[in-house]
């Protein structure tokens, strides 16, 4: 079949050669997976969260398998802004794919400092602002559970960078739409949906929670239906692009998210199960477009037929 398919999509000013990104925390800083995967095939790479100061993370156990999913309470373990610049960025810079740094913080000014500290750096192509991590005491969820605080955070960041700002929202909210709208209004270029759901597992022999912190974040195929429903809902409420994430393991999963209104998708837990997931999905998206005679994958975005 001679059809040339255009897989590229845009998140604000950020152009991706294909819509498949590595999800934050599920692909480290790229280097760990480079022996197994040709990173330059990806649409982009979102780093593990970077906070201002080095963060050791939570006590173990930090992960446990659940039915079709896993819980994690990594606790944003990361080398901090300086450590990132010194140890991680040089490798990332050597790649030809867009690098999006996932930014986390305990206080508003910490987010601002991290973005400021990264903004002049070559090789940082955008930010994913993590206001939705269920595994830290401060920050994280707080910022996304109150629209006013979310507005303030995003507008403060908007002032210090002109690079693409993607804001990652939590599914652990009653109604996600008000926060999504406020974040859009504050100048975000895109939204990532969703972070993990709060979950728990108990060891019936020891009568203790399996994760040292009690609860953790649920990811994997188990949460796909929840993520998809939220993407669909938010896509009808905002104009900015959405990056869908949650249980994407196959190209069909990716297409479901795109049809529901995602411009791009992220692959998280699936990388642990099969590091070849992203290259496979990209290849199969191309095949799907050829079969369905879709010239540009961007024509599929929000293409759900309903009602």
């Amino acid at each position: 079949m001679g059809l040339k398919v255009d897989l590229s999509v845009s998140l604000g000013s950020l152009k991706l050669r294909n819509p498949v990104l590595a999800a934050s925390g599920c692909f480290g800083f790229g280097d760990e997976y480079s022996p197994l995967v040709d990173l330059n095939l990806l649409g982009g790479l979102i780093t593990k969260a970077v906070s201002l100061n080095p963060t050791p993370g939570n006590p173990p156990p930090r992960v446990v398998e659940t039915p079709c999913g896993m819980l994690n309470s990594i606790g944003l373990a990361n080398p901090g802004l300086k450590g990132f610049l010194r140890e991680k960025l040089p490798f990332l810079r050597s790649l030809t794919v867009p690098i999006i740094v996932n930014v986390a913080g305990g206080r508003l000014w910490e987010y601002v400092e991290v973005v400021k500290g990264l903004d002049k750096e070559d090789g940082v192509d955008g930010y994913e602002i993590n206001i939705s991590c269920p595994n830290v005491e401060k920050g994280g969820m707080e910022f996304s559970s109150d629209p006013k605080i979310a507005f303030k955070l995003v507008s403060s960041l908007r002032k210090v960078t002109s690079k693409p700002l993607i804001v990652k929202l939590s599914p652990n909210l009653g109604n996600i739409v008000p926060v999504a709208k406020v974040v859009e209004e504050a100048g975000a270029d895109a939204l990532s949906l969703i972070n993990t759901l709060i979950g728990m597992a108990i060891d019936v022999r020891t009568k203790r929670p399996i994760l040292a912190r009690g609860t953790g974040g649920l990811s994997g195929p188990a949460i796909k239906p929840v993520a998809l429903a939220l993407v669909w809902k938010v896509a009808q409420a905002v104009e900015i692009p959405i990056v869908g994430v949650g249980g994407i393991f196959t190209s069909e999963d990716a297409i479901e998210f795109i049809l529901a209104g995602s411009t791009a998708v992220q692959v998280g837990t699936a990388n642990f199960v099969d590091p070849q997931t992203m290259p496979k999905i990209i290849e199969e998206l191309r095949d799907y477009c050829v079969q369905e005679k879709i010239k540009r994958i961007s024509d599929l975005i929000g293409g759900l037929e309903y009602g």
Binding site: G28, P60, E65, M70, G220, F272
Partner: protein, 261 residues
């Protein structure tokens, strides 16, 4: 580190709780070092979802093969025990650092608890110059002790303890170790693998006797390649409390590095 398909050559029962899984994957077999492991997908589909880590137990690079020694625990190990010759498993390996080999003059002493025998047996195979040395192995009961012929042909002296005394010394393997160390061997180098409580005691005894000790740790894993920090273990890191990854910085650590409580 390679991701490849391994061919199942067969499974072999070793008592009620253990079996040997024979796999063929030449690229992996030729790279494997004692103490390293593979991370494998038990089955297609989403249940179980995550890969499972298993240590190399024996390798035969000339045939492109290697063995895993697996203790039945939950769903994953049960499904693996039912594999038939000809099936394929997706695996990533070799992973982890492996056991550092002894310096000349050091006399290795191996201490295994339960399934901890898996990697230590391969280490014993490689340490041919240590023939005649001591291998301590503790288990719950007689049925969990096997491989005795293999040990005698390797030339190691196998000392067994069982909790119920059904074979060997009745008690804990660390009692045997303690008794042995009390007759002091200054040049001993201890290698150990087994449950956390046992490792902690071995570490304590080593420390008490000022002996170097390598411990191989287990822990829940997600990625297996160092990316997720899910397998963290509390360690002294540059003098401070910190975390190390079992999959990447380990699974073998110096006993002194690990924070045991």
């Amino acid at each position: 580190m390679i991701q490849t398909k391994a061919l199942v050559l067969g499974t072999q029962r070793l008592g009620p709780l253990f079996y040997r899984l024979k796999l063929k994957a030449p690229s992996i077999s030729s790279l494997a070092q004692p103490g390293q492991f593979v991370h494998l997908k038990v089955d297609e589909g989403y249940d179980p979802l995550l890969r499972r880590p298993f240590s190399f137990h024996h390798t035969d690079p000339s045939q492109g093969c290697f063995d895993l020694l697996i203790k039945l625990r939950g769903k994953g190990t049960r499904l693996l025990s039912q594999k038939s010759p000809g099936e394929e498993l997706d695996l990533i390996g070799p992973l982890g650092n492996g056991f550092p080999l002894p310096h000349s003059g050091q006399s290795p002493v191996l201490v295994a608890g339960g399934a901890g025998i898996a990697p230590l047996f391969m280490l014993a195979e490689r340490l041919t110059s240590a023939r005649g040395n001591l291998f301590f192995w503790g288990a719950k009961r007689k049925e969990e002790i096997f491989l005795r012929d293999e040990f005698s042909s390797l030339g190691w002296r196998l000392e067994i303890s069982t909790e119920d005394g059904s074979i060997g010394y009745r008690g804990l393997v660390t009692d045997l170790l303690q008794a042995y160390l009390s007759k002091a061997k200054d040049n001993c180098l201890i290698y150990t693998c087994g449950p956390w409580g046992m490792l902690k005691e071995v570490a304590r005894l080593s420390g008490q006797n000022h002996l170097p000790c390598w411990v191989s740790l287990e822990g829940n894993m997600a990625c297996g390649v160092g990316a997720c920090w899910g397998c963290a273990v509390r360690c002294k890191v540059e003098g401070k409390l910190g975390y190390r990854r079992i999959c990447k910085d380990g699974p073998v650590f110096s006993a002194e590095e690990v924070i045991w409580d």
